[in-house]
Amino acid sequence: MDVTEYIKLVFTDYTLRTITLGTAILGAVCGMLGSFAVLRKQSLLGDAISHAALPGITIAFLITGAKDSNILLLGALLSGLVGTFWIRGIISKTHLKSDTALGLILSLFFGFGMLLLTFIQKQPNANQAGLDKYLFGQAATLVESDVWLMAIVTSICLFVLLLFWKEFKILLFDADYTKTLGFNTKFIDILITTFIVLAIVLGLQTVGVVLMSAMLLAPAAAARQWTNRLGTMVIIAALFGAFSGVFGTAISASQNNLSTGPVIVIVAGFFVLISFIFSPSRGLLFKQIRFIKNRRDLQLHKTLSFMYHIAETHEDITHPHTIKILNNFQGYTKGTLQKLADKHYVTLSDGNWSLTEEGFKTASNLYNQQNDNNE
């Protein structure tokens, strides 16, 4: 199946449309909430929560014996929340650092989940097949009701986000200060965390326990590169997430049905890569270009100030000097000399250079801190 055929199919084929819509919504809500996780330096929390959800899925199956995805996700939600509050408990009640607490809960819950999963698979229950799809996700199993659930949760999440925008922002930036202003920081905190857990649980069916945290972090990390405003960052992250979902589904559907979850994550990773390289203010490429340009400017200024010190010793500052005396100077090349001439700082005539009035003035004011600072 090639791309044009795929695009046609999205609008006609029910299954493909459902999956595309589902992954797009999932990507958007994850990007939105992921921004908060990243800014709170709780990037690993997403990973811990998603792994902590596995025992919930298996226990829900053991109790009901059925594979209703809503009930399984309810189990995932509960055990994800339990894991989260244990992590917070460990951090606040013991001397353990947050990375240790996260790692501990992540592996313990995941280990327990795997244990139950293998136990279930050994049972003679025909229903158990396919429960392991929650490990790596299987977007193909999305049905319309799943997408509706995602859409409803996303709208609630968006509504709460807009309603408490101010409170979320100030808590993220300075929690202690927020407390002194009289806000109930615990409430705001629990609100954010609950929504993060919700988003993760929603994604388990599609992307899976193991890869879910990438959905949360990659769009946010990429978005941070493009803006210095929180609002813009959240919007860009949501867009990156949504596009990762759409492109990921498209690629996986058109390439011999590659597993959708991993492809979505790879696409999101690609957005991160592009952002880290090409972002105008923070990207590596422009940083390097600026670096080289600054180097050149410095060389130019070095040459100019060297000339200035020579010209200074003369009565007439525009007195011509031979170019040869610049030869041993480090910053000097023919190019820099020509550039200085282009800027009318010097005039050149057969083997001699002389500083102009303007060049003299510029050179005497170079890197004068008092002029640079407007404090």
Binding site: K166, D174, D176, Y177, T178, K179, G182, R229
Partner: protein
Amino acid sequence: MDKKKIPVSAGRIAVKVDDLTVAYNYKPVLWDIDLEIPEGVLMAIVGPNGAGKSTLIKSILGILKPIAGSVSIYNQPYEKQRSLVAYVPQKGSVDWDFPTTALDVVMMGTYGSLGWIKRPGQKEKKAALEALEKVGMLPFKGRQISQLSGGQQQRIFLARALVQNASIYFMDEPFQGVDATTEIAIINILKELRKAGKTVIVVHHDLQTVPEYFDWVTFLNVKKIATGPVKDIFNDDNLTKTYGINYKVSIQE
């Protein structure tokens, strides 16, 4: 030395701390602190590292939960009087790479009076701009906060507290890591606040400048050593009691 007579005789108590005890584990960080801070003073809290200076401020403001003790602001429990109190945290307590601008941070000072959900409008923006002007940071209002120098970040924090238009200001080491110009700019603002009848409480490290900057001082080292007017109690005796016999700083040059 500030030779002006300080009008503390009016005698209203701005902050009253009773039996405050705070402990992280077994060892108390603050032990049985009783403290009365009169209205209109510019007070330094001094003491060695680990003496509990920041802890004292944080537990007065309810950021930390004390084991015992109570705090009242103008004879009312602190919770009822929050709007009268502003706080300048240590500069290092936040992530300055956060995606926001200088003006936005200062606007946060208005959030308390706005309350839940309500967004800041033109009135709040105007107040924030005025505060930025006061600390000399108006030209930087649109700057991303990581692109400010340490001294400028401190001024932004100060402006955020000024916007609160409080009666009592708590500041945690506002002079830490700022250059001489900024230090003078900040102390001038603090003195202006006092002139306007506000009470200012500052965690301070530089003993040399205490007599010059402040009119009231509290010596703290887990227990309260002494509190009162600088000219009466800022002496070798109290400094030795607070810092131990090894302290070698002479207050007279």
